[in-house]
Amino acid sequence: MIWQLDILILLIVVICAIASITVKDILSSALLLGAYSFLMCLLWTGMGAVDVAFTEAAVGAGISTAFFIGAVFHMTRRTKD
């Protein structure tokens, strides 16, 4: 585990989390949540939890984002906050 890379990824993760709850568009929120999940699984790979990381990459980031984008097209993209 390289600590400089670790801190960099942790900072980008926090930025992605804040951005995904503040953007005024649900589709952007879904895509930022997907980026957040992929960065999180990079972090877990660095910590040696490869099984958790590839489950998160396949299911948490891939399928969740696909579901969310599919749901957004059946709903509205508009949000007030």
Binding site: L10, I26, Y36, A49, D51, V59, G60, V72, M75, T79
Partner: protein, 134 residues
């Protein structure tokens, strides 16, 4: 110096607390239901980050697979400092699956809500419900 090392050395845990509070804030304070679900997802991922951080070890520990050099190194095949703790990994594997299924059910409820009220804002839905009651 000792306390500074403690604070800096555990940076994963500080970021986990920050992420957890971001998710909690989104669940409580956001008006849009989709944003609340995003907050729930962030909250759950933060908890998984905490558990994986407890499992990690410094000093070249790897995943629990016995290699030939491990056997050659000593008489005992399995020594704990050579391996990461696999128990939190397995627990969090289950938690990820639960997270995704919760997310899917929440999205289904959200779509039904939109079909009925044509909006995802909490206050607008509350206003419609109040109007229907009167």
């Amino acid at each position: 110096m000792d306390t500074m090392d403690f604070i800096i050395g555990k940076y994963n845990y500080w970021i986990y607390i920050v992420l957890m509070m971001i998710g909690f804030y989104a669940m409580i304070a956001k008006n849009n239901f989709a944003k609340k679900i995003v907050g729930m997802n962030i909250f759950q991922t933060a908890i998984i980050l905490f558990f994986i951080s407890t499992a990690s070890k410094t000093g070249g520990a790897t995943i629990p697979i016995i290699k030939s050099e491990h056997l050659a190194a000593g008489a005992q095949a399995i020594t704990a400092p050579q391996y990461l703790n696999p128990l939190p990994h397995v627990l969090m594997l289950t938690a990820i699956v639960v997270m995704v299924s919760t997310f899917g059910v929440a999205l289904a409820v959200l779509m039904m809500l939109y079909r009925k009220y044509r909006t995802l804002e909490e206050d607008e839905i509350m206003a419609i419900l109040k109007m229907e009651k009167d």
